[in-house]
């Protein structure tokens, strides 16, 4: 098998992997009637109806950034900043850095009384790509690295110019994507407090003492659930147990919306 053939097979493998990975994301479609109806309700000030229709759309057609964003707007109009923040965060998960989502999330955080801090350069760099994009970049880098290394090994006597830098670059990209993926993995456990003045208890029981209160819209790290409670870690380091229905994970389980 000559070099040209090897590269052709590598290219085919990468394209196949990309198609396989993207199979869960359906292509853009014309707006569904429910979506137009929800937007119309929103524009007429009937935010409750808009929320209902957006939820119906999510249940039927799956998640999409615009639907989540519009749903966040409707919740914000209903003075429910916690639920608005939840949907904006989900929209940002699908489209990191989207300026409209970031702007409205900023407003929701301000409305719920949270300090809006400027993100650092490293945070921006880490959050530049979604976890899916990082995973696919790492996969392409792994495939490229494997092909190039095997070719270099087989043709030690007559090396192909330019292959060695490609191998180094592929290894670097694979390493960086892996490290970033690991560093951002805790994001999968982020959750948003939905209820105002949510009591955080010292133990997972209704009779347990309240340790402190969390405001609506607070971002926490959710741990393992226990019966009707889930253990949470607040950003200031405090931890305790919160009733499961008083918060929602940004990345929900497959069965929940």
């Amino acid at each position: 098998m000559n070099i040209r053939t090897q590269f052709q097979w590598g290219l085919v493998a990468v394209i196949a992997a990309s198609l396989l990975g993207c199979s869960s994301v359906r292509s853009a479609q014309p707006p569904a009637p429910e979506f137009l109806q929800a937007n119309q309700a929103y524009n007429h000030g009937d935010y409750t109806a808009a929320v209902r229709d957006y939820h119906t759309l999510l249940a039927r057609g799956g998640y999409s950034m615009p639907v989540l964003y519009n749903l966040g707007n409707a919740w914000l109009r209903l003075n429910q900043p916690g639920r608005a923040i939840l949907n904006y965060e989900r929209a940002l998960w699908l489209a990191p850095g989207n300026p409209a989502v970031k702007q409205n999330l900023h407003i929701a955080l301000q409305q719920s009384g949270h300090a809006v801090t400027q993100t650092t350069l490293s945070e921006r760099a880490l959050g530049w790509l979604s976890l899916d994009e990082l995973a696919w970049i790492g996969t392409v880098a792994a495939v490229t690295l494997s092909g190039v290394v095997l070719t270099l090994r087989r043709r030690r006597q007559r090396p192909i110019p330019g292959l060695r830098p490609v191998a180094v670059l592929s290894a670097l990209v694979l390493f960086m994507s892996g490290v970033t993926l690991i560093a951002r993995w805790p994001e999968l456990d982020r959750a948003v407090v939905l209820a105002a003045a949510t009591p955080v208890r010292v133990a997972p029981a209704d009779a347990a003492d309240v340790s402190f209160l969390l405001p609506s819209g607070e971002l926490v790290q959710a741990g393992k659930p226990y019966q009707a409670y889930v253990r949470v870690h607040a950003e200031d380091g405090r931890s305790g147990w919160v009733r499961t229905q008083q918060l929602a994970r940004i990345i929900p389980a497959a069965t929940e919306h």
């Binding site: 994301v25 900043p81 702007q103 792994a142 690295l145 209160l213």
Partner: protein, 644 residues
């Protein structure tokens, strides 16, 4: 010998220059047998720190009495002030042979009402202190200034004040009560979450040297222990006729579960016990010296000299107090207010807002103070919620303790709220609830209603009425920065069934994993192929395979009657086997090598080599019938050559 030891110890302790002078002074003191002399005259001093406090805080009054006969001055009665004794210490010092003693009495001073209080002069045995004054400010004005700055004096908590403390005492070295510890708890019954100050007191006989090997530890899995004072207070007491040095620590315990539990106390120390010499018979040098000087050797029995001449024995011990039983009651479930956050104690709440007149969109700071005594770490408040009238930010809390264990103090909450419309706007009352262990009931406190006058501002704000319907459907209020809500998106965009990242799915790891595994496998295979022949194990296997193949060729030549092929295969097989034994390539194994390395018992090999040479170079073709016996011979030679 004894004399030299004494001088060496003096040299180690106080330096060579003063050693002889000090010894001479001690000798003079011992000879004179004079009792300790007290300085004539009584000195009485009183200090009050700080001289200005806020209501609810405490000042410390220290009275120092020097050169007086036994007794203590009486603290004057001042209307509105309470003097609580919190400690007593005594010191004695000897300067140029003159011994003086002083006693310090410490009181905690609290006021019932704000105002200026005059504390009259204190008189005792003819001496008197100057009059003192204490300014007590209202609580809210003193609260901010009461923040505990680093190093700010905080008095110890009143452990057992007004109640009968329970304590346990144990002896160490029961003969003589050399040292012991005591745990003082104000009461033996608590509620879960109730913070109780405790005092840990260690007693050491005054003639002991003591090194603390660590802080005292309270042991129980039913309590959390916090805020143990780092530096113990030292004082002198007499128990019977024995003087003791006492060390006092203060801490706070909080029960975390209900039931009957025991609280044990430990304190690791090293005691330096002084052992006096038996008699002057052990000090022949010093006895002889005194005899030569014409002095009475009974001087050696003097206590001061005995303490000087003896030796110190160090002993590491752990002082233990028997476990103190404490009954912990559960908080009642009935009647628990929804706003209850676990605070147990006695509290009061006050609030204020400033400024009282603002423009719409401008911030107003709402401050409320929760003061009292209890577990302040559980004192929480959600503050004012955001509604149609007010946009509320998250409240911030600061705690200013008023005792060393943080039981008494003031927790101040500050929250920024922004009025969203003009008018005279009432601020919602803030609710705070706690459990009062004295009454055994929950108490709910509310702040006084406040009103803020809001004028129309330059920032456009909604003037929607603040009824419930409006609060759920009012247009979005824009923040003061003037940020606009970005509009709706018109298309649904790409959709996905799950937000879970692809990397969370098991199959995904096959995509980078398979090429990486192929790469690793390929590299391993290439490495195996290029493994050097010198690899011993590999070479042995390869030789055996080669020999087997050549034996098969011999058998094939025998069957086809090909004599030259048979002898060539036999020659090659022997070359391979011998080359393996001698560490050389097969083609390097020649007849001359065989002659040089093998004796006459290997002549059959020489014959095979000769036949092979004749076949190869002379063209002779040995008949197969003459070679048929050679198959067995070559196999035996190959087997024998393996032993070389």
């Amino acid at each position: 010998m004894w004399m030299s030891n004494i001088l060496r110890r003096f040299h180690e302790q106080i330096g060579s220059a003063t050693a002889l002078a000090t010894l001479a002074a001690m000798l003079a003191l011992g000879l004179a047998g004079a009792p300790p002399a007290f300085a004539s005259g009584v000195q009485l001093n009183a200090t009050l720190q700080p001289s200005q406090i806020s209501l609810g805080e405490a000042a410390q009054l220290s009275i120092t009495l020097r050169g007086a006969q036994p007794g203590a001055p009486e603290v004057p009665q001042v209307d509105g002030l309470t003097f609580t004794p919190i400690g007593q210490s005594s010191t004695s010092e000897s300067i140029n042979g003159v011994t003086s003693a002083s006693v310090s009495l410490t009181y905690r001073v609290t006021a019932a009402q704000p105002g200026r209080y005059a504390i009259p002069a204190i008189q005792f045995q003819g001496a008197r202190t100057p009059a003192l004054s204490l300014d007590v400010l209202p609580a809210q004005t003193g609260a901010a200034g009461a923040a505990a700055a680093p190093g700010h004096f905080l008095p110890p908590p009143a452990v057992g004040g007004g109640t009968t403390p329970s304590s346990t005492v144990s002896d160490h070295q029961s003969a003589g009560r050399t040292a012991f510890v005591q745990l003082i708890v104000p009461k033996a019954q608590l509620y879960v979450g109730e913070l109780m100050p405790v005092e840990i007191k260690a007693y050491f006989r005054s003639d002991l040297g003591v090194n603390l090997e660590g802080p005292p530890t309270l042991q129980s899995d039913a309590f959390t222990v916090s805020n143990l004072t780092s530096n113990p207070q030292q004082s002198q007491v007499r128990i019977g006729s024995v003087p003791y040095t006492t060390l006092s620590w203060y801490s706070a315990i909080v029960p975390i579960k209900n039931g009957d539990y025991a609280l044990a106390l430990q304190l690791p120390v090293t005691l330096k016990i002084h052992e006096a010499p038996d008699s002057s018979s052990q000090m022949p040098d010093l006895a002889a010296l005194l005899g030569n000087a014409g002095l009475d050797s009974s001087f050696l029995d003097d206590a001061n000299l005995q303490s000087l001449l003896g030796r110190e024995v160090e002993q590491s011990v752990t002082l233990k107090a028997p476990a103190t039983s404490i009954a912990v009651l559960a908080l009642p479930a009935a009647g628990q207010p929804p706003s209850f956050s676990g605070a147990v104690g006695s509290f009061r709440i006050e609030t204020r807002a400033s400024p009282a007149q603002v423009a719409a969109g401008d911030p107003v700071t709402v401050t409320w103070n929760i003061q009292g005594a209890g577990n302040f770490d559980r004192v929480n408040s959600a503050g004012i919620p955001t509604d149609a009238t007010w946009k509320a930010y998250r409240p911030q809390a600061t705690f200013s303790p008023q005792d060393s264990v943080g039981r008494e103090g003031n927790k101040q909450f500050e929250q920024t709220v922004v009025p969203l419309r003009a008018g005279r706007l009432p601020l919602p009352a803030i609710e705070f609830s706690y459990f009062d262990p004295k009454s055994g009931q929950y108490v709910v406190r509310h702040t006084q209603p406040l009103e803020v006058s809001v004028t129309p501002g330059s920032t456009p704000v909604s003037t929607a009425p603040s009824n419930a319907q409006a609060s759920t459907s009012a247009p979005l209020r824009e923040p003061s920065q003037g940020m606009q809500l970005a509009p709706l998106m018109p298309t649904t965009g790409a959709r996905t069934a799950s937000l879970s990242p692809v990397a969370q799915r098991a199959w995904f790891f096959a995509l980078p994993g398979v090429p990486l595994a192929v790469m690793a496998g390929g590299l391993l295979l290439m490495a195996r192929r290029e493994r050097p022949v010198s690899d011993a194990a590999h070479a042995a296997v390869a030789t055996a395979a080669q020999v087997s193949a050549l034996l098969a060729s011999m058998d094939e030549a025998l069957q086809t009657g090909d004599g030259p092929a048979f002898i060539s295969a036999a020659h090659r097989a022997l070359q391979v086997r011998l080359g393996r034994c001698w560490g050389m390539a097969p083609h390097e194994v020649t007849l001359s090598q065989v002659d040089a390395r093998l004796d006459s018992s290997w002549d059959r090999i020489r014959q095979v080599f000769a036949l092979a040479d004749q076949s190869a170079y002379a063209g002779s073709r040995p008949h197969i019938s003459t070679l048929s016996d050679w198959r067995q011979i070559v196999q035996e030679l190959l087997h024998r050559a393996e032993q070389l």
